[in-house]
Symmetry: C2
Subunit: 516 residues, 2 copies
């Protein structure tokens, strides 16, 4: 097997069984797209009948689903999702095999997928996220083909350029009318934005809406509309509300998270980019949430207003919008009840597709507008490469999400991470799996100080001018290793169980089967 060392130093086989020919990662923004967008199958529905069919089984039969095809799901039901398991059970009844499962992400609730892999129903998976127990099973080699891990923008790009062709898209629909106009704003399974589903619905050859809240025509506004949906099926329940969105998430008063967040806000304020009209994204975890609250205080103090909050939207960003501190929100995924409420009532809280959010092959996805993004990490190496996919034992158990996309899009990408997590150092010589290349990672904020990527001398200069202490990443690594010792190398077999694509389709890393 010919191996090519890619731009982050990983050896990539030129050909991988179950995937095909690979393009090694060559650095950010290196692959210019060619050709045209893919297109869904042209189809006509004569007459005025609704699209209601009597059962999921009937809809799947009508869809023409066959052995060897690819099916998709969106993950706005998050860990409350019932739809993937429900649909796979019906497909199993129908005796269909050899499908590729290509959802926008998968969670711990999708453990039953393992059974469908064992029966040969599922032979390939393409997803942004894979968590225990499914991630573990895949790391142990259960799946015939390697999984393909893509970022949210990479997945939209793959769908749009035809790399990922969806035969049948299943859309869990919190509200839906009999013509297939869907939104996520009402119903017991309300999820707010349907940004991931929008891409699937536009490009799939057949779209099946599955709803537990059939409402009268017309259901407006429609996030996915009647021009894309072929069949509508009513079921009892598409998800567990407790797992879909939470009540307002309060940021932790964990002093370590607060320390990290305080460092991050110092970094933002002194970056040179903190000015009226800035664009900002953060996550929904402890330290990230704290950043938004602390940043709000700095905005008020300095009388600075942002243009846009981006990404997964939480109560904290809704507050900024409602207080006039942000002039708009772009929402691909609503994380809490406040975000669901706001997207339903405020036209400046704007629902965008995953493609709009992060697809690199567009004359400007939203991530290109970012000034600041707060990101997490499982591991960071001294080249600033970040792993957000595999645990320190090498097992697949997380999600890339928008990490790759926002890191390169933002003027300053900030990784928030404790120096040590569960007695394991975060900063290592080489990350287990490179998900986001160091080239796109600008600042690391830990509870033990801040490191800046040496390729960002502009930021270093601004931090120094502001008297903000900077440590080298090697210093931070040494600090951690002093406390924990150097971690052991993780043993792998030589069987490939996963490929991590960079957002441009090239392969940034390979995941091998766990040796134990």
């Amino acid at each position: 097997m010919e191996m090519i060392k890619n731009a982050v130093g990983r050896n990539i086989p030129s050909y991988v069984d179950g995937f095909g020919k690979t393009d090694p990662f060559m650095g950010v923004n290196k692959i210019e797209p060619s050709g045209r967008k893919a297109g869904a199958k042209l189809r006509m529905k004569k007459g005025r009948d609704t699209k209601l069919v009597s059962s999921l089984k009937e809809a799947i039969k009508l869809s023409g689903l066959k052995n060897g095809m690819t099916i998709s799901f969106h993950h706005h039901m998050r860990n409350g999702d019932y739809t993937v398991n429900m649909v796979l059970d019906v497909i199993a009844d129908l005796g269909i095999k050899d499908l590729t499962l290509a959802p926008s992400s998968l969670g711990t609730c999708h453990g039953p997928v393992i059974n469908h892999i064992e029966t040969g129903l599922i032979t390939g998976i393409q997803s942004s996220g894979l968590r225990d127990p499914l991630g573990t099973a895949i790391s142990q080699g259960i799946l015939p083909k390697p999984v393909i891990i893509r970022s949210h923008g990479g997945r939209a790009r793959a769908i749009e350029d035809g790399e990922l062709h969806i035969d049948v898209a299943f859309i869990a629909a919190p509200s839906c009318d009999p013509m297939g106009n869907i939104n996520g704003r009402s119903g017991k399974s309300a999820c707010g934005s349907m940004g991931y589903a929008m891409v699937d619905a536009q490009y799939a050859d057949c779209v099946i809406a599955i709803t537990d809240n059939l409402v009268p025509f017309p259901n407006l506004p429609a996030s996915v509309d009647q021009t894309m949906v072929d069949y509508v099926v009513e079921v009892d329940c598409i998800g567990d509300p407790k797992g879909i969105v939470s009540g307002p998430i309060r940021f932790s008063d964990n002093p370590r998270d607060l320390l990290i967040a305080t460092n991050a806000v110092k970094a933002i304020v002194n970056s040179g980019f903190f000015a009226d009209g800035f664009v900002y994204q953060t996550g929904a975890a402890g330290a990230s949430l704290a950043v938004t609250s602390l940043l709000r205080e700095e905005m008020l103090k300095r009388n600075i207003k942002g243009a846009l909050g981006l990404g997964g939207i939480t109560s904290q960003l809704v507050t900024l919008l409602e207080e006039g501190l942000m002039s708009g929100l772009y929402d691909t995924q609503s994380f809490d009840l406040d975000a669901v409420r706001s997207i339903g009532e405020n036209p400046r809280h704007y629902e965008i597709s995953a493609s709009f959010y992060a697809n690199p092959n567009l004359p400007a996805p939203a991530v290109n507008n970012l000034d600041f993004v707060m990101l997490g990490a499982l591991e960071i190496d001294t080249d600033f490469n970040v792993n957000v996919m595999t645990r320190s034992d090498g097992v697949i158990n997380q999600a890339i999400g928008g990490h790759q996309d926002t890191a390169v899009g933002a003027r300053m990408s900030v990784i928030l991470a404790p120096l040590i997590r569960s007695r394991i150092p975060i900063i290592v010589d080489k990350v287990t799996t490179v998900c986001t290349p160091g080239e796109a990672v600008d600042v690391i904020c830990t509870d033990y100080g801040i490191a800046v990527n040496p390729n960002r001398q502009d930021i270093i200069k601004n931090f120094q001018a502001a008297g903000l202490p900077i440590r080298s990443i090697e210093e931070l690594q040494a600090l951690a290793e002093n406390l924990t010792g150097k971690p052991d190398a993780v043993p792998f077999t030589d069987r490939i169980v996963g490929l991590v694509e960079y957002r441009d389709r090239s392969i940034i890393d390979i995941i091998y089967q766990s040796a134990e």
Copy 2:
């Protein structure tokens, strides 16, 4: 030349110079689509710069526009549009020739296009509408290639299936931010819905926004968004507000129009389809507007509520929405200031693309939901075929709009027409140009009575049960001819100057050069 008689009895040459091989019209819903949707050129914009360029000339140079390409415009600026003439003048300066002009429609304000035809800049035109003086010039043979006339749904279909490939789309933008997020809701050139532009922006290889109202990022909601727009140009003025939308259009108290409208409302009420949840479209001309007002009274009297008002939206439909008599509006084009206001503040007044509205190759465009549509006619023949494109002297001077699309989509299509117009009978043996096939035309309401297409025995039965007098179309024709005499045949040469496509791409009629 081989000629084939199509399903409305017109002889269609199997090949037309400047068009190619033709498919004769075979009847409604006869051509099932095959293949896939076309796709815009994949393109990437690195970095965070805005899309502002210094001038229209600069934007056109950057677009790569070349001899032989196709350019598009939308007609929401209606007869106040400055954009088409402005862009063509710049293209003329650049010395580019042999372009196809493919706007969604053209009005009387586009007379200067004639000059650009004379210089060889424009060699082909594809449009829903062509009016004097351009229509006359084309009927006189000025254009090298025959014009292609399509309905709004047919144009969206042609763009989506690749028959009409747009190289550069020019979008007149009533409000636009520097990233290219556009809507029609504010600014001195506010037009409300941008439904036609949405299709062009999605499928064109390059999109140039031309705005007289540059607003701060992000401009939300975006009807055409930053993921589609390549360049943004600021100009003084994109249109004359007086020509774009009007103040509330009051329905005429012309007794003839009221008589026609009264007949139409009787037809609706007694059709058997007038029930809760009905879907309705009408136009913005005298009799059509009167229908909505009279219908409102019937709705109140009978306590019937509609689901949806559709199409070009006027103050009358906004009133129904705001009074709770309609549960939603689908808007491809806003005709008056009330409609512009409403689309900007009411999420149930929903902006839809021309494709959503009427593209036949979708699993349900909005026209398929129609119960009733009120349509106009220049001529109707005794086979119920309707001409909305050529005057009685055979000269091109109108627009197809959504006529073909709604006629077949609606459960009951109603033509509103006076029996005689300017001393010329409306009902003739053979219409000059078949635009909408009689097969899809159900009821004719005139000031002298109602005729029903014999293929709609269900409607005839319901009208008879209600005691509604019906006349045969031949009776109506005889009545008219008694008053005016039989019109003379119109003389044509044998040179083809236009093809009228049915919405499915087949040719429903040919327009020949005027003989005088």
